[in-house]
Amino acid sequence: MIETTQERQAKETVRKKKKIAAETKPIVRYLDVTKTFGDLEVLKGINLDVMPGEKLSLIGPSGSGKTTIIRMLMTLEEPDSGIIEVEGEPLWHMEVNGNLVRADQKHLRRVRSKIGMVFQQFNLFPHMTILKNCTSAPIHVLGMNKKEAEERAMAMLERVGLADKVNNYPSQLSGGQQQRVAIARALVMEPKVMLFDEVTSALDPETVGEVLEIIRDIAKEGKMAMILITHEMDFARDIADRVVFLEDGMLTEEGTPEQIFENPQSERLQSFLARFRNGSGS
């Protein structure tokens, strides 16, 4: 009985995916992307497509390069080789007289306006109130007027349940609350792709739930593509349309959450998941 339900779910997901794939082009595309830090080859040729609205979970052991993948998409880390495309347009390169050359600041800014990110350490601006944290970028980057930005920020803060904290400073909030503000701050910019980099790793266990709940809620809305890195396997499974397993700088296995978690193919993925089941983490 359980199996048949899962099978049906799996089929449904596949169908949904196929339908999306037929209709649209990937919003994010990695083509043979590599990255080396010193002597350490972190990524050894990544090929990955993310569809508009798709929820993708990236799992893998620590040091497998998960964070580097999304940091490159946020333009925080430059790839050594390969191309990352956003809506069909190269992110780190631009075309000049038919040649792909290194992108300048202007190009980077234009393309990365489609990407948003929530960090492990929240990175709220400590010198601004909660409200200003959420209105500063809309005002100064998107050119919104103050009133409009405040309305939008308030709507988001209400959504994450922190409308009563608007005049507080980040240091007056708990970790979970800060992370919820960080999510609201990123949402206000209305990115097409949102990146979550182990957003609950720095939190107290009792505040993890509230943050996951918010992300789940956003995911349900569906418009935005999301790439999640998390060590919360239940959450990864729950929220994702597709799960990708990263090991030693390579994407070694991918599939629906059911395929990955119920029927892992490679031995390494099996042992990785087993370690989580035993509760020892990565």
Binding site: Q105, I115, F125, H127, V141, S174, G175, Q177, A186
Partner: protein, 240 residues
């Protein structure tokens, strides 16, 4: 000569006579200090901007020039600017004592101020840069909206200390003829053959101005320390 004889040399007439002259010159000294300081603060930003250029050879060059300026005595720099610079072909220009003083001390201390800025900037966590990139601020906005508002307040006491240090270095400018307290006192002394009174008064003026300022700065430092220790974000600790 006994101690009493020495004290008897103190002439109240000279003291009362020179006091108003030195008091008047004090305003000039204070004004010059402020001008030099503002110059140093502004040029300090210039150095910081130059040092943020990524090219390695350029960075090394900038560091060398800064080191050179810092390790040469300011008095030598003042003499050079005043007496030698006008003779340099093409770029040479003869500055007034006031301009020379502002430029000379301003440039000298700007290299120290730049180091203070740098320590402030480096104390801003890397995550702040990353968040400002993720929110797509322009380079300029990253500096003005996110980084500097966090980098500067903690170093205000250090900057204050340099104001006091500069105040004490300003008498150097008497060497190029700037009529501050020291020059006025020396001229009075030479005219009246009485050194002890005017110079004592100058010393007392410096003490009266520096000491309260340094107390103020250390108070400020305490307050800043408390404030910024409190605002540090404890990793995932609830403060509800």
């Amino acid at each position: 000569m006994s101690v009493m004889d020495k004290i008897r040399q103190w002439n109240w007439e000279h003291a009362i006579d020179s006091f108003p002259l030195i008091f008047k010159a004090m305003w000039l000294t204070l004004g010059l200090t402020l001008a030099c300081y503002l110059c140093a603060l502004a040029l300090g930003f210039g150095w910081t901007a130059l040092r943020s250029v990524k090219a390695r050879w350029f960075n090394a060059l900038v560091r060398f020039v800064m080191q050179f300026i810092r390790t040469t005595p300011p008095l030598v720099q003042l003499y050079f600017l005043f007496y030698a610079w006008p003779l340099v072909p093409y770029v040479g220009y003869s500055f007034s004592p006031l301009t020379t003083a502002i430029l000379g001390l301003g440039i000298h201390f700007s290299t120290y101020i730049a180091e203070i800025y740098r320590s402030g900037i480096e104390s801003v966590p890397k995550g702040q840069w990353e968040a400002s990139i993720a929110l797509n601020y322009s380079r300029f906005q990253q500096w003005t909206k996110i980084i500097l508002p966090q980098a500067l307040p903690p170093v205000i006491p250090m900057l204050g200390n340099y104001l006091i240090i500069m105040f004490k270095e300003v008498p150097l400018t008497s060497a190029i003829g700037f009529a501050g307290m020291l020059l006025v006192a020396r001229e009075y002394a030479q005219d009246h053959w009485s050194y002890i009174e005017p110079l004592t008064i100058v010393a007392l003026f410096f003490l009266a101005l520096s000491y309260p300022s340094s107390l103020f700065v250390s108070k400020l430092e305490e307050r800043m320390n408390r404030r910024f220790r409190k605002n540090e974000q404890p990793k995932g600790v609830a403060v509800e």
